[in-house]
Symmetry: C2
Subunit: 213 residues, 2 copies
DNA sequence: CGCTGATGACTGAGCGCATAGTCAGTGGAT
DNA sequence: ATCCACTGACTATGCGCTCAGTCATCAGCG
């Protein structure tokens, strides 16, 4: 199961890792995404990277440690995608900032839907202290979304929506797409990002219908 | 791991099943939701129902068969919740029908978030022919949503939205809540259903902002 | 009423197999 | 000569599933 160079997962891991370790993580991402953590054997991961079963333990302490490295690095990359300074640079009104953050969140998850599937759905297999570390990163996503929406509501750009519930909904849209998104479908990651940015603006606008509450 | 009578999962299975078989399915739902299909042992399921390991095979052919029964019955119940005649009875305009269908879909998934988690996230463990049967049921959800939205667009009640993408988004909202919903949180299943019904109406309304496309 | 045989839900023991992880050793690079 | 990424062979454990057997229930029969 050798992966080609265009695999988006291959670029997620950072230079601090040996090339072989990155290959193992990439193989593990595909295995975990397909069969889940417990459904994947350490042999699947190693042979998927073209190595013998024991090679995994040269680079990682355990199978759970492999999952943790994927989750940690994946979450940090996603956070970087939505909170890097250039995302909202020059955007001085909340609607534009909301559009930018939602579009980045969605397009990142679409592009990295395989790795994101592991990051979103396999966390229960982590040990308690590893899980804590991931949860600490995860908390920053709703905080970022909430601050953008709260500012828009305060300034009157948005309707007086329940920020907490809208944030939940926006994160749900971005997360759930990793379950169904396929790169050969009708939408590119960027197109989907723009569409969901439109939806986000709709969701914080007053409803013109007969039941506004 | 005996469950009390208020467990929503206990009421999902129907009268054609022996009481012990229903207890086993209920135990299996909780095991699968917590540890996943491959992370659950047949011993977990049986002893969770207060039985010996071998008792499972009195009522089910295999562990995969247990998952299939959960998925089949769960999907049929959810479909019933959104497409029963009384859901849209007396609602003659598309906005009201959209609200009703979304609210039912969401509140069902919130109330049955544990069983729904199994139905949504464990399908990959099914064999091909069992999976086909579940997929055939699943197809009816987007069809129902699409018909309501298409009618609203045709009649001019809704903005000329891309029905396929809006349907995807609405299903995502209802599905993803099974990942984070907790009964002791701020929203009851019905409150969440009404909120998402509001969002649905927003999503098919014209966007008043500066970037309507 | 009691006796008998059949039925079927359930159990205890265990089989064959796959799994995560180990370790002494190998071979290529420096 | 040293180093270390990597391997082949291995172990202990836990898995899905089976099967002979137990026990409670019940119909048929005298």
């Amino acid at each position: 199961m050798t992966r080609n160079a265009a695999d988006p997962a291959a670029g997620l891991w950072g230079d601090d890792l040996a090339p072989v370790a990155r290959t193992l993580l990439t193989s593990a991402v595909h295995c975990f995404a397909r069969r889940g953590f417990t459904g994947t054997t350490t042999r699947d991961i190693s042979t998927g990277a073209g190595l013998s079963p024991a090679a995994l333990y040269v680079h990682f302490r355990s199978k759970e440690d492999v999952l943790f490295e994927i989750a940690r690095r994946g979450h940090l990359r996603a956070l970087e995608a939505v909170s890097a300074p250039e995302v909202t640079a020059g955007l001085d009104d909340p609607p534009a900032r909301l559009r930018a953050v939602v579009a980045r969140f969605v397009s990142w998850h679409a592009r990295h839907h395989v790795a994101a599937r592991v990051c979103q759905y396999e966390l229960a297999a982590l040990g308690p202290e590893h899980l804590d570390e991931i949860v600490a990163i995860r908390r920053q996503f709703p905080e970022l979304f909430r601050s953008v929406i709260a500012e828009g509501v305060d300034r009157g750009d948005f309707a007086p929506v329940d920020a907490g519930r809208v944030v939940r909904a926006l994160l749900s849209l971005g997360v759930d797409l990793v379950r169904w998104y396929r790169p050969d479908g009708p939408d590119s990651p960027e197109q989907l990002g723009r569409f969901y940015a439109d939806l986000a603006v709709s969701m914080v606008s007053a409803v013109p219908g007969p039941q506004p509450g």
